[in-house]
């Protein structure tokens, strides 16, 4: 069960959300394009660029080298021609070898077929040139210098260099052309990337738009779920009231009838059946209400001192009749090591134990049921208390134990048909024990019985003062006014109150009640809440506004609306407590006794406190009741010293102003009204820069009030 019904509903009502198919396909295409297309194009372009660049560099280097060697060679041959120097000619032939090497490197560098043709031309021209140069060399070697000079080689040399120059130009042309190709590839790459980016953008847009739609849907569903949860809570409250009101009639009249001695035995048995059936129905309604409150985390524990022994005794005696009817042995074992009192919610603990006991009796055909409580260990002021409910009943298979604690589940569905019940009992038990920070476990063997074990860490409560006052049965003869507009409920209340010996008057409206309270002295009012016209809450408020004793009469709300926030609203309206409908004699008596007892105690307090001049002892006592006395003593001493200092006029103006401010509020809280008023008047004068002589004089007059009034009152308390 989830804690937030809103989210649960949202999760159920919507299938798992998915992004649109289009967006996913687009995203895949984009990723494919970017990863394959982009990388491939980049590799291709990069490789070509590298080849072209290297080739171009090599061509340029070779061409430069050839020009250089050629020029050098011309110079050497020229000198050889003039001097007829054979050594120089040999040098020229070595240079010629270099030229060839460079030419063959140029050939390797050239990758374009057309350039190869140009290169071959260049090679041919170079061969002619070389042949001519060798001829010239032979002529020089033969000493025919004249003939050698006459041999003009310049045209061949120029033709060769022209060819080389052409190779260079072609190579540059080739680079430019390839560059164009590369430009194309680069642009294609860019286009692919752009396209992919667009796809990514479109995908993101689609996804975000869809996500926003989801967010809006979730918000709407959450809101709807909240409204639904509130409606469910309201519905439960209404239904609880609507079911309890007629039940009040059934159980109440059955109760009253059973007291009627004129019934025949058969009639008495039948009325007993009516009462039993009504009580069972009430138990189911209570289970459902408890469960929904636990589910909505609206159930609060009412922590007060509780005594285990009495509580467990109660439980045994409540289920005793059931056990006797089935001839089961009941036993109770309470560990003497248990402290007298622990802090806990007695009603809720009793509810859990009763539930376990009545389950045990229900599922035990023969043998017995035992209840025990013991202290397992203690740490500091805490005891780990183990409560066990063991039976010799039909038991349950180990694999179904956990299922048993789930709501709406019984060990097999046949059980609910045979034994009845809402199926919520154990689930409520576990949640209540969870709420008490304890654990509840079950050990069982089919056929050999079951043992439920509750483990609670509880704070010992040794303080006898914390013990709640026990009021016995209501003292008979109280004058009680019942305000109730349904005749049936009026009659039941009247019957039950009369049975307890009270003298009762009834009225059916808030207006009449106020009039009756103004005139007559009632000791208690039982107030229905939902009445036509002025409702119970409004009536209670107006009663509290009445002057004198009439305004202080204890009022108990008598209502089927028993959710905690509803009960709180009754207390806020000035009522003193509530009795739940359907009315049960025992509960009614106890509530009335408590309310009457408390009001007597209050009356005694009021008698003690007569207001003396300028000092409200009741106000002082209220503070003294909650502040530790040594602390109060210190504060009184400080207040007294500060007051005297200011009265003597010893402090500078700013400190005086802060001081009287403090005195005004403290004295007011302590009931020292004369001092408080004087302090406030002086503060006003100083704050507004008005003449303060009169105010100072008044303040000086009241300056001793702390010691005069409050101190003796405190000392009396310290002595007591």
């Amino acid at each position: 069960m989830t804690n937030d019904p809103g989210l649960a509903v949202a999760a159920r009502s919507e299938a798992t959300p998915t992004y649109p198919k289009g967006a996913i396909i687009l995203a895949l295409i984009a990723i494919a394009l970017v990863s394959f297309g982009g990388v491939a194009v980049n590799l291709l372009v990069g490789e070509r660029l590298k080849i072209i660049t290297n080739s171009q560099i090599e061509v340029l280097q070779s061409v430069q080298e050839i020009s250089f060697i050629n020029t050098q060679k011309e110079e050497v041959i020229d000198i050889a021609l003039v001097d007829g120097d054979l050594r120089r000619l040999e040098q020229a032939l070595i240079l010629q070898g270099n030229l060839r090497t460079t030419l063959s490197r140029l050939e390797r560098a050239i990758r374009l077929p057309e350039n190869r043709i140009a290169f071959r031309d260049a090679f041919n021209v170079e061969s002619e040139l070389r042949a001519a140069e060798e001829q010239q060399a032979l002529l020089i070697a033969a000493g025919r210098l004249q003939d050698a000079r006459a041999l003009d080689l310049d045209p061949q040399r120029r033709a060769f260099m022209h060819q080389i120059e052409q190779i260079k130009q072609r190579s540059q042309h080739y680079v430019a052309e390839s560059g164009g190709h590369i430009d194309f590839w680069l642009q294609l790459n860019l286009m692919v990337n752009l396209f992919a980016s667009l796809l990514v953008g479109a995908t993101l847009f689609l996804m975000i738009r869809r996500t926003r739609v989801w967010a809006r849907q979730l918000t709407r569903m959450e809101r709807e779920a909240r409204v639904a949860a509130q409606a469910k809570a309201d519905f439960l409250a209404t239904m609880s009231h609507e079911i309890r009101t007629p039940l009040n009639g059934v159980i109440g009249f059955a109760d009253l009838l059973l007291d009627d001695s004129e019934l025949t035995v058969e009639q008495r048995r039948q009325v007993g059946q009516i009462q039993g059936a009504g009580s069972m129905l009430l138990a189911v309604v209570n289970d459902i209400l408890d469960f929904s409150r636990l589910d909505a985390e609206k159930l609060e524990l009412d922590i007060a001192p509780l005594a285990f022994e009495g509580l467990l005794d109660d439980c045994i005696s409540i289920v005793g009749q059931m056990a006797r009817e089935k001839n089961l042995l009941m036993s109770l074992d309470v560990d003497p090591a248990l402290a007298d009192r622990y802090l806990g919610d007695a009603d809720r603990l009793r509810q859990v134990v009763l539930n376990l006991l009545s389950n045990a009796i229900k599922f035990t055909p023969a043998g017995g049921v035992s209840l025990s409580a013991k202290v397992a260990d203690s740490v500091g002021e805490r005891d780990r208390v183990i409560i066990e409910v063991a039976d010799t009943g039909i038991g349950i298979a180990a694999d179904r134990i956990e299922q048993l604690f789930q709501p709406f589940t019984q060990a097999d569905s046949g059980i609910s048909k045979r034994f009845g019940g809402s199926g919520l009992g154990l689930s409520i038990c576990r949640r209540l024990i969870d709420l008490m920070d304890g654990t509840i476990t079950l050990k069982s063997d089919p056929g050999c019985g079951s043992t439920f074990t509750i483990s609670l860490s509880m704070v010992r409560c040794d303080d006898a003062v914390a013990e709640q006052p026990e009021h016995g049965a209501a003292e008979p003869g109280a004058r009680i006014l019942v305000v109730e507009d349904l005749p049936m409920n009026r009659e039941i209340a009247l019957g039950m109150l009369a049975r307890s010996g009270h003298s009762v008057e009834v009225t059916d409206s808030g207006e009449n009640a106020i009039a009756m309270l103004r005139d007559g002295a009632f000791e208690l009012v039982l107030m229905d809440i939902q009445m036509a016209g002025m409702d119970g809450v409004e009536t209670a408020k107006r009663v509290r506004a009445l002057p004198g004793a009439a305004g202080r009469v204890p009022i108990l709300a008598m209502t089927a609306n028993i959710l905690p926030q509803q009960v709180r609203s009754y207390l806020d309206a000035g009522m003193n407590g509530h009795v739940a409908k359907p009315l049960r004699q025992g509960h009614l008596d106890k509530a009335i006794a408590d309310a009457l007892g408390a009001s007597q105690a209050r009356a005694e307090v009021v008698d003690l406190t007569q207001s003396s001049d300028g000092f409200d002892e009741a106000a002082f006592d209220r503070i003294a009741a909650i502040l530790p006395l040594p602390k109060l003593e210190t504060h009184l001493a400080t207040l007294s010293a500060l007051t005297r200092e200011i009265a003597k006029g010893q402090l500078p103006e700013a400190e005086t102003q802060a001081g009287v401010h403090k005195i005004g509020s403290q004295a007011g809280a302590l009931g020292l009204f004369r001092l408080a008023t004087a302090a406030r008047q002086l503060e006003d004068c100083l704050f507004n820069s008005l003449p303060s002589d009169l105010a100072r004089a008044r303040f000086a007059e009241a300056a001793g009030d702390t010691d005069l009034f409050a101190r003796p009152r405190l000392e009396a308390r310290l002595a007591a």
Binding site: E297, K298, E300, L301, D302, I303, D345, P564, Q565, D572, R622, I623, I626, L627, P628, K631, H635, T638, L639, H661, K662, G664, S665, Q666, A667, G668, A669, L670, A676, R680, E683, D684, F687
Partner: protein, 126 residues
């Protein structure tokens, strides 16, 4: 059950608040001047803040405005005032105060007003 911070230099009042609230299971922390209240409140994130209007250091209203500047966390605030005119209260309520109480404060009344501002699970049981 709730964590409550009171900012007031009046030790008597602080003791009174402690005495009224601690027996109900609430934890009460006290600060005696206005300067670091908002820092402490934002760090500790108490369930309720009781703020005196006149303290040494920053005034209660200034502290209230600082505390309300937080966008993520809204602590219920009860303003305590010694001398009050309705104009002062209007300013306080506009600045985001949830309740105003005038000294002298009746302890029973204080308990009711404090519990009214606490979320239901933190109130005293019953």
């Amino acid at each position: 059950m709730a964590r409550i911070i009171i900012a007031d230099d009046d030790e008597f009042f602080v003791d009174l608040v402690r005495a009224a609230l601690e027996p109900l299971g609430h934890a009460v922390g006290a600060l005696s001047d206005g300067d670091n209240v908002s820092a402490v409140v934002n760090r500790k994130q108490p369930d309720l803040l009781i703020l005196d209007c006149s303290m040494p250091g920053k005034t209660g209203i200034a502290v209230l405005r600082e505390v309300r500047a937080s966008k993520t966390y809204r602590v219920p605030v009860i303003m305590i005032t010694g001398r009050t005119s309705h104009a002062d209260e209007d300013i306080g309520y506009q600045a985001g105060a949830d309740d105003y109480m005038r000294k002298p404060v009746d302890p029973d009344n204080l308990v009711v007003r404090v519990e009214a501002l606490l979320p239901e699970p933190l109130r005293r049981a019953g």
